[in-house]
Amino acid sequence: MDIVYAILDNAALKWAVLVLIMVMPLASLLTWAERRQSAMMQDRLGPNRANLGPLKIWGILHFIADAVKMIAKEDFIPGSVHRGLFALAPILALAPVLVAFAIIPFGPTVYPHVMGDVLNTYQLASGPVGDAAQQAAWAATYDDSIRAQVFQIEFGLIFYFAILTLANYGGTIAGWASYNKWALLGGLRSSSQMMSYEVSMGLSLMGMFLIWGTLEPGAMVQLQGSEPWKWGVVLWPFVPLGLVAFILFFTAAIAETKRAPFDIPEGEPEIIGYFVEYSGIRWGMFFLAEFIEIVFISAVITTVFFGGYQVPFLDPDGFRFLGDWVTVNGQQVHLGGYYLPVPHGAVVALQFGAFAIKVVLLCWLQLLIRWTLPRFRADQLMNLGWKVLLPSSLGLIMVAALAKLVSFL
């Protein structure tokens, strides 16, 4: 195995690249996009001034100006706070969201030796067969591969639920350490909200897991394949399971990001929220964590409901319409149909691009929702969480189990 590809396939490196090249820039861009988009929805102009001389580009550079401002600002720490926890809280809020990205398959597996050629999916799936020379040739071509997923593990999305729950400690601890009643109220509200929504968030996906029989996001994307009518959101085992699960999960996930219409922990008009005592870059970390969470939720929804990095009708070896699925060596391979070959390098680029576009669109949708709906009252929030979302997601699990049972009969 080539040492270069081995390094490129290194998990830590992949994670760093993912976080630094995709997540961080997207999240910081969102800080600008949020204000600009809300302005557009409310017939205002929003931040359109930051520029590099004649380079104005709609004010996108505001995100750099913001970052500089937050770093340069005074980091004010009130005298009575618990210093250790006060310093720890923003890190606790930010770190888990970044770690959780490890499970997201943000692109296909790349075979660097066949970048210019059309990938032979049949040959790839059948593995090293034939005589020694053929096996060696197969190994030389396909042994070096870079999987665009940092952490591929059986329990996949469970890891996400577990890690993201930790992020909530950031808010609660910030509220506690600030030694401020408003902050404490915000922290408590955030943990109570987390408890009511974490449950239905997890359960709403269980139905999908049951149908697919896997928790591993990479496998889910492969199962959904390149045909849009097989994607999660249109999963339809005699009820619109995918669509309902999508709405339930999306609602719970927005509540999890603690943004409007579920911004009770922040409650700007009354308590300002758990970060009321924070300033400068510490506050910036909470802010960034919130936006990274938006990106992350978009990535999860893309993966589970919208076919992940799949481009409609683009198989690993090219565009194909209405082909046949053949099982080779335990793997599903799509062959035949109306077929237009595309080189592996182009497929990879298209699929990375598709993932980015889907994520950006879902981020946009979340911003649209955030700037459309007014805040829920606390009792409405609890009603929605416990009386609507939870029973419906439990119902979904039963429906999915029934569908699974029927398909076995």
Partner: protein, 206 residues
């Protein structure tokens, strides 16, 4: 108080809840129809979709059409300016005489009338007997000025005006916002009003 309740008692029409029956012992005791949200309403789905439709419409129109076709009415300030009405009160200025001297006769009307006490005048004597005094210093603290225009109203000789149309500029130090006599005169212009009536020797002219 009693009157208010008496009014309530037969107020069973209008926006209030539908009244099913009224007790004959006490007309204030009533059975009313409570409207609970239907499950469809309390799932918020329809309302959400409707709301998203409205914001989406505005977003698309504001983002993807030419500026003049959008709903946006923002004036981008330093480049575009709102046209002020003719009588807009801007920064002060001191008017000039024909010979370019300050028209102000240091009568102290304006510092007296100024509600913000922001005009400071140190009067001094002139050789011109018809005028007697002139302001040696004339300072207006534009930070304290409430732009009421009373100084202009009070001035007996059209010496002070607020018709420059200029805003008080943002400053970094408070003292920078104080307009001195030189500055005020710089903004000024020759006033065409005749000062001093017919002159100091008006009695002799008769």
């Amino acid at each position: 108080m009693a009157g208010g309740h008496a009014h309530d008692a037969h107020d069973d029409h209008g926006d209030g809840p539908e009244v099913l029956s009224v007790s004959d012992k006490n007309p204030r005791v009533r059975t009313i129809q409570v409207k609970r949200p239907t499950p469809a309403e309390s799932s918020y789905l329809a309302a959400t979709a409707k709301g998203l439709g409205v914001t989406l419409k505005h977003f698309v129109k504001n983002t993807f059409s030419r500026r003049k076709n959008t709903y946006i009415e923002t004036i981008e300030y330093p480049e575009q300016k709102f046209e002020y009405p003719e009588r807009f009160r801007g920064l002060h200025r001191l008017m000039h005489r024909d010979d370019g001297a300050v028209r102000c006769v240091a009568c102290m009307c304006c510092p007296t009338v100024c509600p913000a006490h922001c005009i400071t005048i140190v009067p001094a004597q002139t050789d011109d007997n018809g005028i007697e005094k002139y302001p040696a210093t004339f300072e207006i603290d534009e930070l304290r000025c409430v732009v009421c225009g009373l100084c202009v109203e009070a001035c007996p000789c059209d010496a002070i005006r607020m018709d420059t149309g200029i805003h008080a500029k943002p400053v970094e130090e408070r003292h920078e916002a104080i307009m001195t006599k030189d500055l005020l005169l710089e903004l000024g212009a020759r006033s065409t009003a005749v000062q001093g009536g017919e002159g100091a020797d008006w009695r002799g002219k008769k």
